[in-house]
Subunit: 302 residues, 2 copies
Amino acid sequence: MANGGKEGLTPEAARSLVDSVDVFIFDCDGVIWKGDKLIEGVSEALHTLRSLGKRFVFVTNNSRKSRKQYAKKFSKLGMEIDEGEIFTSSFAAAMYLKLNNFPTDKKVYVVGEEGIKEELKLVGYESIGGPEDGRKSIQLESSFFFDHDRSVGAVVVGLDQHFNYYKLQYATLCIRENPGCLFIATNCDSSGNLTSLQEWPGAGCMVSAVSCSTQKEPVVVGKPSTFLMKFLLERFKIDVSRMCMVGDRLDTDILFGQNAGCKTLLVLSGVTTLPALLDPSNSIYPDVYANNLSHFVQLSSL
Amino acid sequence: MANGGKEGLTPEAARSLVDSVDVFIFDCDGVIWKGDKLIEGVSEALHTLRSLGKRFVFVTNNSRKSRKQYAKKFSKLGMEIDEGEIFTSSFAAAMYLKLNNFPTDKKVYVVGEEGIKEELKLVGYESIGGPEDGRKSIQLESSFFFDHDRSVGAVVVGLDQHFNYYKLQYATLCIRENPGCLFIATNCDSSGNLTSLQEWPGAGCMVSAVSCSTQKEPVVVGKPSTFLMKFLLERFKIDVSRMCMVGDRLDTDILFGQNAGCKTLLVLSGVTTLPALLDPSNSIYPDVYANNLSHFVQLSSL
């Protein structure tokens, strides 16, 4: 690590990183906000970086919202961020299908929330499942037969606060019985700061459950998979060596940046604690780490 | 395999197995019944084996019912089986806590159904969660704080047709935040014939989800863990070399029998198909396999 293991970050290391980077890729939960609360000093920090001519991309594994809904959230929190600067794992799932020429006469079954359904709709795919199946339940009785739609050609699994046994079996039947049915995970985060006060189970939990019942591994389109990064690089024509991934999770954000060849900055304002970072069992190290984004930007300006 | 790879079972191999065994340990789902339907010829096959002086133990990983409820199910299907001959993974979970001196002033949080709660109650433990939390839901809002009972000292996870995000977070908080809280899985079956017409996601799905959010591995008390077998051996004073495990699953039943040193009989009336058994990727082979229990017993009588 550039700021030297147990030592704190130096102004020189912070300045050197800022100078060497044109584009910052920000994770949102734990970096920009926690749940619906902005993390202290973020707005000013982003303003300072913008004034230095830096470009931003906001990348979130949280699939609950679409890019449009995230732009609204930024606005509500007092920051005007363009929809085109935002990349969600829900959008990544839709893009994956589109780039792989998924036929529009096939349906997509969604274990997840509105964000996934909205992004799928924007690229012309019909989806079923999602929030409305959260109200459905199953009574396991002897002669009960659970039928499913044979025209489902892909199952997308993301974070789902209305996850239930009904959706688990529906997704399982599609993947197991519909020939060639794709199994796509928006991401595999084990947990996340979905509210400001505590961590919550992440999409990885729903993905694990479907993986277990189908005995299959999904295609992962969010961080740390390189699918999203390749898409970003092509879309933005960004030189990867002049990019820095800023995140709060080692196994998604920092790994995502490293897989792509970016510089990496870990902020300790989210899931990862300093002891966890320095624990001998951890093998993922960022180039630089700081308490939070504001702290990093302030140090770089000294 | 005693009946020689792709060859069918011979009367000699079947007879030799019956002669060398005093006690048959039967899995239930896929061996005795599928959902609420008896598998053809099972009643007669058991009658024949009883008349030869064989003793029976019925072991099921299905934690949805208690031993008492299973005795009723046998009776409803026309077979009188003593409660003492039945071992469920719900009972195994209760026994695990008791044998490990789990204090009775601590509570147990249950992700699962009535069977687990009933067995826990029988050994004097207070449980919360289970079916009643299946009706609860969460609205992830900014300032929402999800509280949990700090006196929960163990979480038991089993098959749960009312699994939801509420229970997942409750179990996670207990395991993560209550010091020393145990994480017990009744079993890790990926699927099972819970109804007669199709397979359904098994307890392994709920266990995977909790494992993901807590980043911890559970203690497994059902098959193929040896906990239940050790308990059986002590209780019944059975010579393990004169026992045969009969099951429909390679990775739970057959492995369970082999881990203990029993003989093993795979029946193809449940989850495992002949191609799956003979697939080069499979590394678990029974001593003998047959289409179903009736077929095996008939052959042994020729």
